[in-house]
Amino acid sequence: MRRIKRNAFISSLVAMAVVIHSVEMFIPSPSPWLRFGFANIIALTAIALFGLRVALMVTILRVFLGTILMGTFLTPAFVLGMGGGIGSTLVMGIAHRQFKAAFSLVGISVMGAYTHNIVQLALVYFLFIRHFEVFYVLPVLLLFGILTGILNGIAATYLTAHLARFSFVQLDSIS
């Protein structure tokens, strides 16, 4: 029973992430493929509540379902979403496991946001637009990324605090 509750809970996390991902598409952005990354709030919360493995699952499912819903499945947005999402989730997961004592979720979130942007821009360069000019937006993007990271971290802190009381949650999980 506990297992079922746990999985149902994780599914709701995925659902929330998909909603955030989809709504995010409507926010104006310099490029149709580059998005803010607010869905990382859920990824970070999943890391804090269940660990890296579950968080990766949530992220991958989120990109699949989100892009299918929005009609951007297998488009550049899909590739960038996957790349940025997996990259930042990995970084956040490892950082959380190693440095949880030193950094709060805000710091970890900023690390994730930073890598999210770098990975996305690198993917754009290597896969889509092979002009070095692509990197000219990097500084601006990174500054916004740091801001988004801070906001995400704050949101994730609240979310984790409220959700931690569920019994099937595995705080400080190793996996």
Binding site: A102, F103, S104, V110, E133, L142
Partner: protein, 118 residues
């Protein structure tokens, strides 16, 4: 506490990268001329010069002046390339389809628009 050091450090790193990127922006502003896909030459936009480009119909006369490049004359029927005027920014191009001549600008400042359709 470590959070603030991290964030402060990343902000500084990002701000530092502004001038570094700016440095690359002005490097090598060059007009790349190709005939039928084959490279004829790379010409710096900083040096004013006339370049005769031989294509299948004849010679297209290209001029680099005032940090830009334009087609003065071309043996094509519609002279669209001549009418395109002067191009100055990276990513812009002049094309003479009948003669097979393509002139592109590479390196230099990011244009304010990503593409221009004529």
């Amino acid at each position: 506490m470590a959070d603030k050091i991290l964030i402060g450090g990343l902000i500084i790193l990002t701000l530092l990268s502004f001038p570094i990127i700016k440095h690359f922006q002005h490097e090598g502003r060059v007009a790349v001329i190709e005939v039928d896909g084959e490279l004829v030459g790379n010409f710096s936009l900083e040096e004013d010069r006339f370049i005769p480009v031989d294509g299948k119909l004849g010679t297209t006369r290209v001029e680099i002046a005032g940090n830009g490049v334009r087609v003065l004359d071309s043996p094509c029927p519609h002279k669209l390339c001549v009418k395109s005027g002067i191009i100055t920014r990276s990513g812009e191009a002049l094309v003479c389809l009948p003669n097979g001549v393509v002139i592109r600008i590479e390196g230099g400042e990011k244009p304010s628009v990503d593409a221009v359709s004529r």
